[in-house]
Symmetry: C2
Subunit: 400 residues, 2 copies
Amino acid sequence: MKNMVYIQSGGPTSVINTSFYGALKEAMRHPDKIDGIYGSLNGIEGMIDDKLIDIRKEDPEQIELLLQTPGSILGTTRRKLPKDINDPLYEKVLNTIKKREIKYIFINGGNDSMDTCSKISTLCREKGLDVIVVGVPKTIDNDLACTDHSLGFPSAAKFIINTINALSMDACCFKVGKVHICEIMGRNAGWLTACADLLPEETRPHLFYIPEVPFDVEKFLVDVERVYKEKGYVMVCISEGIDFERANKNSRVDGFGHRQLGGAAAGLCEIVERRLDLPTRGVEFSLTQRACPLAISKVDREEAIKTGEIAVQAALRGETGKMVIFKRVSQNPYKIEYELADVSLVANAESKIKPEMIVDATRMSDSFREYIAPLIEGEVQLVTKHGIATMANFKKVMVR
Amino acid sequence: MKNMVYIQSGGPTSVINTSFYGALKEAMRHPDKIDGIYGSLNGIEGMIDDKLIDIRKEDPEQIELLLQTPGSILGTTRRKLPKDINDPLYEKVLNTIKKREIKYIFINGGNDSMDTCSKISTLCREKGLDVIVVGVPKTIDNDLACTDHSLGFPSAAKFIINTINALSMDACCFKVGKVHICEIMGRNAGWLTACADLLPEETRPHLFYIPEVPFDVEKFLVDVERVYKEKGYVMVCISEGIDFERANKNSRVDGFGHRQLGGAAAGLCEIVERRLDLPTRGVEFSLTQRACPLAISKVDREEAIKTGEIAVQAALRGETGKMVIFKRVSQNPYKIEYELADVSLVANAESKIKPEMIVDATRMSDSFREYIAPLIEGEVQLVTKHGIATMANFKKVMVR
């Protein structure tokens, strides 16, 4: 018996189940090499607690729906594994591997998940188990190192760009406009926040504040006031990762900063109202930006399927401790090649917007726009029933 | 000269320019009866300040793009007109009507805008002007009286339903789930909040709190705790219009209630965290729900075009002081007829969810679902350029 297990880890994206789809379709093409195709429930937790489901028992129609189902169909986790591979927890993982005769492990996730990938790979090697561990890149934040971009980022970017396009049309139509502050995900990287720079002049946000540039609340207020005077309304994109606490301290606003509740947008709206006496509207894109399947990029979907396939092919070739990465070999026409990188290199690094891609708070560089543009190309048609996109519904039959 | 002027008023929707499209295309079919086709900039403000643009000068290609352009292309206003028709402001409106030889006035909006419609209609009649005033229904809140539903509501509902569908898939995939509180628009009516009840069992929100049912924060906490214990996560839909201040007072939380910033969702998240010690996530759908064109309902689009046409036809027949309304004459297959209602009846009423449509906080009735279902049917394909929906861009040539 040579079984495989697929693990989804970290925050979901709108295409996280699409790379899983690619992997399991590819696995099904190799019945001679892969017997059981299992899914680990709730990330690495399923390996610790021996909670695996048998994917071969799922309805083929439901498997097709993975292509448009956000959220991790197998469940996910944010649990970080201990450093010491002699920790008793790893014994449990090893027990599951042995009991379920696991030969191939696929871990789909971002930086933290690649850390898990690296640890499990090291564990198996040091314990002398002939087990292959391959990483599949995923994060809307686009902060994974070693790869041109990450799966999920293009669709989240496309959703954000199209939504801000619409919000700009909404914002500019009032005689007395507001300062609109849109708060966007990305942790320490501004990729998602800056991507609306690709919009045409009429709907492009006026100001961008990303974690790569130190945030200065006084400069921010000057920028906002200047644009408001000129345009009569302001569209601001801020990253959730800007140094807001410092902004708060600098502005000496007491009893303020419920970041966990209203977030940076709400906080900055309050500062703008107090200091500039301008009307504001904070818009947090929140979970919608990573989950909403209404703007899945065709490129993202195709690459996600291919990445799943490549991961399985690499595993069957015996590659281990590696993550699938994208190398952009041509910009026009856009073309990537799929390669492999050591997961330990990926796990401990973070990819941010390069300084040369940033002009100032009002503009990104041409190179930034050229980088993003091909990723958001193409629309996908969702399968719907009475106007509602159909979500995959798994039976989740436990492996016994 | 018999000229027409079209006025967009109140909060925009994703199809507000679609009914305008229908009206101006119909007007263009009657060059014998309508000479100038004008747009009033920023709602009634354009009539007060004589700021009209000549729609015939716009590029036909841009006019076609109105079908997918959110925000009011002509600009909008929330200005409420004075009661006294002898107010000097009305003199200005009359001057514009006379100077520009306006025969037909179309006012597109919700309750407040129908009040404007009613006042302008009365004004013209009392001043002996042979001017026709016709209302075009619009509001995502769906709270307009006399009509089966309002334009813009179906597309907003479709966006919300599909987004909550995705958020539910995202919410249920963590081992330690959160209490997700989604805050949805609708003022004093819960239509948009309750519409996610149409989702299938797997992604249907667990709890709904709408303005039609008095909000009891203690009952809310009991409900949330019960669902969390059972499911491990909770999806809650709350209307922006629930009596949140009272909730706040009841729960005796001091230094709290920045409604204008974080809104009801943020406030209730804080209460849940303090009282139940459960992790929360507040999601405000904010302006995205009314502007995002990614889920325009085909039914909404078709009805918006038709409504614009019907409004012009009614005006040409000499109907005045009326708003186009929808009467549902058949449920299966869904069929509406277009009729006219006196704008004064519409202006001073509000349509809310009927008591018999509400079962309890966990469920709407079959009649509610049957009412909503046909409205969200059908998808529209957006014209895109490099993955971004193309927005109409008007030259706005002033009428001189």
